[in-house]
């Protein structure tokens, strides 16, 4: 035995043991060992595990002089995983470097691995595993398969070397992998029962133990992959079986495995009729050669994918047996509802990165002030998040929501060289005029105004339109606050709104009621919706400010309240049926709406004939929504634009409100009828087939005791509706419209 022990003499030896399992590949092994002899940094030892070698590998190794300490371990054929474990057991080095016998290291490989380990693991991490690129060797005149393989390997290592790459268990490839011996022992080494995917399985256990994964781009090795197309298909079968074993052992990894996607049609045959499937596969295999001869690349790739998929599922089926067993296996996957950490970027990028490095969450929801940017979802099999992942996700996956949020929420500190000096190429948040029409409700108005003054928006004005007031309480209130005050002596909500439009200085005009309170992000959400130049009007979500009395609860929970749902919707005439165009109350309410000035001018202002305070109380907003949409403009319902409404506390007031609602809707329909823009037949059909049944049906249900609202309230709508024709005539006779 000629083992040259250099560790006593040579001080530049690194405390690293190279472990190479080999099986009947003497020439290849010779290439690897020759390359190891030419390393810039010498390893402590090289352990070659001859796994069932009958070609004289062990004897040849013993009879040759090597410039490093060589240990030879012989064992009967037990597989690469068992061989590596045996090698690791015999190794003395603090670091273990696993190389395959078909991999030729470049001279810097060991130095690069050692360098990567020099920086120890982070706090709480039991160790670090470092992978290096094993680039496929170049050969000319390669066929489609070889070219595809090469491209696949290059892409894999290119991705691993990219900044911000989130490592997964699939990045652990034992052809060129180093990790501390202590870590290896701690996680229990390779699973000798696996013939394939044993490296992924090791990776899964490394991640589960909390170890870090890293990539050393300079630890380059040349991989002489001898697999040909048929070999890859055989391997696919082994991969199928390996995946089943991994899935059984690590159920949390199941969603990441290929088999969780379910078998393709060809793969399904593997379950039922494997013999038939094998014959089809053989025919397809010949077809593949024909496609390659005809140089049809894309069809070849498609067919190869299908064939490989078949053999993969053949492997899965041979392990799992039946489809039901597969379903059971997949059913063991734990639910993915993991807690997502919320991070606000307004505090700065550096701060966000520090939070990620500290908390190491699995999933993160990113916000910028009030605006949600996106999320980094939990990925099974991937390492928990770190600070370095953040910038890449923001730059590559979330640039659009980020660019939309920045003008409104401001640039965040700690990002980029001179954020203040960079000119803003994005539209500035447009100034908005907020109009609040009020009539003798000073206490409620005060709360409303205070909420408006606390809005988080850079440029807006508040206009209080005092409509036919009895005293000057509102005037005094407005004088004490930085709002504009305007008095509209003619009573009528729509008149007041029109006055507000006339007084407003900006191009965007938002309305809210005096019994509502705006959420701080209200205007930001409206402005964001208006950033789309197509949008002419925006309505928002109206939520209850309190649900303390039964009347409020009935209104909100049984009647439906004033909110129109949590999903944004776009209303465009082309996409709506006439019935939907009439049922425009689904678009929003007057307590939370905003328009472009130009659209208000073109559509013609609010119609004072539909005013609260006149016999026809309160349909002006519905009428405006209808006119906007029917006029061909786009109306957007944006639930992010939030306003809190103070519902009526007393039952009597609620009755009046519901009655007024019914009446105003009736007047609105009559106006539509008289106007004739929507065909009268449609209006009639809507009224008779949709509205009346709705009104009547609720009463019937109430009488049967099936409705949650008391019958008296259920009558209110119908009562109001019945009064609608008189109310319409009355307002027109009074000459209310001008």
């Amino acid at each position: 035995m000629s083992v040259v022990d250099l560790s006593a003499i040579d001080l530049s030896v690194i405390d690293l043991s190279v472990i190479i399992p080999t099986h009947e590949r003497r020439r290849s092994l010779e290439r690897t060992l020759t390359a190891l002899s030419a390393q810039t940094s010498r390893p402590l030892e090289v352990v070659v595990v001859a796994d069932g070698c009958t070609d004289g590998t062990a004897d040849w190794l013993r009879s040759t002089e090597w410039p490093f300490a060589l240990r030879i371990v012989e064992q009967p054929a037990a597989g690469a995983a068992a061989a590596r474990n045996a090698g690791a057991r015999r190794a003395r080095g603090g670091l273990l470097l696993f190389l395959d016998d078909d991999v030729e290291p470049t001279p810097e490989l060991i130095a690069a691995h050692a360098e990567a380990h020099r920086e120890g693991p982070g706090p709480g991490e039991p160790g670090k595993a470092v992978a290096g690129p094993a680039l496929p060797a170049v050969e000319s005149g390669a066929g489609f398969f070889r070219l595809g393989q090469r491209a696949w390997w290059f892409e894999l290592f290119r991705e691993m070397g990219r900044a911000g790459h989130r490592f997964t268990y699939g990045d652990v490839l034992t052809g060129n992998l180093s990790l501390p011996a202590a870590l290896f022992t701690r996680i229990g080494g390779f699973d000798p029962g696996l013939r394939c995917r044993e490296d992924f399985e090791l990776g899964a256990r490394l991640l589960a133990a909390g170890a870090a994964l890293a990539f050393a781009p300079r630890a380059v090795a040349c991989h002489f992959d001898g697999t040909d197309l048929d070999g890859s298909l055989r391997r696919a079968r082994e991969e199928g079986r390996g995946d089943v074993a991994i899935g059984a052992r690590h159920p949390d990894l199941l969603p990441a495995l290929e088999l969780s996607r379910g078998p393709s049609t060809l793969g399904g045959i593997a379950f039922g009729l494997p013999a038939l499937g094998d014959r089809i596969a053989a025919v397809v295999r010949r077809g593949l050669d024909a496609l390659e001869a005809a140089r049809l690349r894309r069809p070849w790739r498609g067919l190869y994918g299908a064939l490989r998929g078949y053999w993969y599922w053949r492997g899965v089926a041979s392990e799992v047996g039946t489809r039901r067993a597969l379903r059971d296996l997949l059913g063991k996957a734990p639910s993915m509802d993991r807690e997502e950490l919320r991070i606000d970027l307004r505090a700065g990028i550096a701060e966000a990165e520090a939070i990620l490095d500290r908390e190491r969450p699995h999933g993160v929801r990113l916000l910028h002030g009030g605006q949600e940017i996106g999320s980094i979802p939990c990925r099974p099999g991937a390492e928990p998040l770190r600070g370095i992942h953040l910038r890449r996700v923001l730059a590559e996956r979330l640039p659009v929501p980020l660019l939309r949020a920045l003008p409104f929420e401001g640039p965040f500190p700690g990002a980029g060289p001179e954020p203040a000096a960079l000119p803003h190429p994005l539209p500035q948040p447009p100034p908005i005029s907020v109009v609040v029409c009020t009539r003798d409700r000073t206490a409620l108005l005060e709360r409303c105004l205070r909420s408006l003054l606390a809005l988080e928006y850079p440029a807006y004005e508040v206009i209080v339109v005092d409509n036919a007031p009895r005293d000057d309480a509102t005037a005094r209130l407005a004088a004490a606050l930085p709002v504009r005050y305007v008095r509209e002596p003619r009573p009528g909500l729509d008149r007041a709104r029109n006055r507000g439009i006339a007084e407003a200085r900006h191009d965007l005009i938002a309305f809210t009621d005096d019994d509502a309170r705006a959420d701080p992000g209200w205007l930001s959400a409206l402005a964001r919706a208006f950033a789309d130049p197509e949008v002419a009007a925006v309505t928002g979500l109206v939520a209850p400010a309190e649900l303390e009395t039964p009347a409020q609860e009935y209104f909100e929970l049984a009647y439906g309240g004033m909110g129109k749902g949590r999903r944004p919707r776009t209303f465009r005439r082309e996409r709506m049926k006439p019935g939907e165009l009439l049922a425009i109350q689904a678009a929003g309410v007057g307590a939370n709406m905003a328009f472009r000035r130009a659209v208000l001018a073109a559509a013609g202002g609010f119609d004072p004939a539909l005013d609260v305070g006149t016999p026809a109380s309160g349909g002006g907003d519905l009428d405006m929504f209808h006119r906007v949409v029917a006029g061909g403009w786009t109306l957007r319902y944006e639930p992010a634009a939030l306003v809190w409404h103070q519902h009526r506390r007393e039952m009597a007031a609620l009755f009046r409100q519901l009655r007024d609602d019914g009446r105003s809707f009736g007047v609105y329909l009559i106006k539509r009828w008289r106007e004739g823009e929507v065909p009268r037949s449609e209006v009639a059909r809507f009224a008779l087939l949709r509205w009346c049944p709705w009104l009547a049906g609720r009463i019937v249900l109430g009488l049967l005791g099936r409705h949650s609202m008391p019958p008296r309230l259920l009558w209110a709508n119908l009562w109001g509706a019945l009064h609608a024709p008189w109310a319409y005539v009355a307002t027109h006779r009074d000459g209310r419209h001008d």
Binding site: R391, A395, A415
Partner: protein, 399 residues
């Protein structure tokens, strides 16, 4: 309608652009902190362009690449892959009897920052000694004479003579930007990349023919860096990847892929196509080509309409000649399918639009020129090959 060509950086915009009395429009290359992000065409009124909101107009015209670049700067994120050590480079200019153009080209090359690159002039079949004298007047320029006619012949000579690992080609009627070479070389950090192409913009748009060339046959491929490989891109359709006027290849391409086909490109009956044919071979062999818009080259298009027509005819010949080679020599049996696809979706549509005289359609004489070129392509290739073998036989014969 002459168009002025301007190069503006958004951070140092003047209030308005003056002194454009001779022009009706201005073509602007928009940069952000020195890096190109877009282009715009502005009207010129009374010798002045961009009176209202020059910055806003340019920002709108630049569009998404500008916003993305701004965001990446704001985040401190560098989208480019790590560059690695810069390879040694040779800049090669293949020229034939155009000393005036070459003068401007060499002047631009002298303005490149000196990173130790070599500058090589390959003089192809010169009729006089002008080029040699011009090259000699610049101390740093190395002169090589290639007597066999053909642009690809000259390119192969440049590859063989070059001392750098990477050879960057420019045409003699083009003048590169100062940052051109560095931008091209940055793409070679990835070992799989054998070729990097750049963005070519017009140096001037004085005549209708130059504007026509820019619109119908221009070299611009956008402002977003793209990597091409055979998985995402059909190797036979390489027109969108770049052009030989602005490309860099590793010298190892000679033995990994093979030389440029000497039967193709200018100086031979096939007139063009040598660069695209090499791109096809590079992609088919599994390597990558990167399009790097920051490597800017300013090309002076041909000034007369006859030359424009001849150029488009040459393109038609070149594409089909390159395909003929791919079919006969490389055995790419999918050439007929690719040719049919191009004819159906590209040429036929252009012809139809042109016949219907839609606004903005390619003039009919240019469309017909290209189609005539396509018809002549395969035979031109065969003729050219016969000439090449005749030449080689003549050379091999003992004198």
């Amino acid at each position: 309608m002459p168009t002025a060509v301007l190069d503006l950086d958004l951070r140092e915009l003047p209030d308005g652009l003056d002194g454009l009395d001779a022009y009706d429009r201005a073509f602007v290359l928009i940069r952000w902190r020195g890096r190109p992000v877009g282009q715009a065409v502005l009207p010129v009124t009374g010798g002045r362009a961009g009176t209202e909101g020059l910055r806003e107009t340019l920002i709108e015209a630049a569009g998404w690449p500008l916003r993305e670049r701004w965001l990446h700067d704001h985040l401190g994120w560098d989208a480019a892959p790590p560059a690695g050590p810069r390879p040694s480079a040779t800049v090669a200019v293949c020229t034939r009897d155009r000393p005036e153009d070459l003068r401007a080209c060499l002047a631009a090359l002298m303005r490149l920052p000196d990173d130790g690159q070599e500058i090589l002039v390959v003089d192809n079949c010169p009729a006089s000694g002008e080029t040699e004298r011009l090259a000699a007047s610049h101390g740093r320029v190395r002169y090589v004479r290639e007597d066999r006619p053909g642009l690809d012949v000259a390119r192969n000579r440049a590859l063989r003579e070059a001392r750098g690992e990477v050879v960057a080609f420019t045409d003699d009627d083009a003048a590169p930007d100062p940052g051109w070479l560095r931008a091209l070389l940055a793409g070679f950090g990835d070992r799989q990349v054998l070729c990097v192409t750049g963005l070519t913009l017009p140096a001037e748009l004085e005549t209708a023919a130059q504007e026509g060339f820019e619109r119908y046959g221009g070299f611009g491929r956008g402002f977003t860096r793209t990597a091409f490989d055979s998985r995402s891109h059909d190797p036979l359709v390489t027109g969108g990847i770049g052009a030989g006027v602005n490309m860099a290849v590793r010298r190892s391409v000679l033995h990994e892929i093979g030389p440029f086909d000497e039967a193709l490109d200018a100086g031979t009956p096939t007139r063009s196509g040598g660069d695209h044919e090499l791109f096809t071979r590079i992609l088919a062999a599994g390597y990558r080509i990167v399009y790097e818009p920051e490597a800017i080259n300013w090309h002076r298009h041909r000034r007369t309409w006859e030359e424009l027509r001849a150029t488009l005819y040459g393109y038609g010949v070149g594409v089909y000649a390159a395909w003929t080679r791919s079919l006969l020599v490389e055995g790419e049996l999918s050439v007929p399918a690719a040719a049919w696809g191009w004819f159906l979706h590209g040429q036929l549509r252009r012809l139809a639009v042109s016949l219907l005289r839609r606004p903005g359609s390619m003039p009919l004489d240019l469309v017909m020129a290209e189609l005539r070129g396509c018809a002549a392509g395969p035979f031109a290739y065969l003729r050219s090959r016969r000439r090449v073998s005749a030449h080689l036989r003549a050379e091999a014969r003992p004198a």
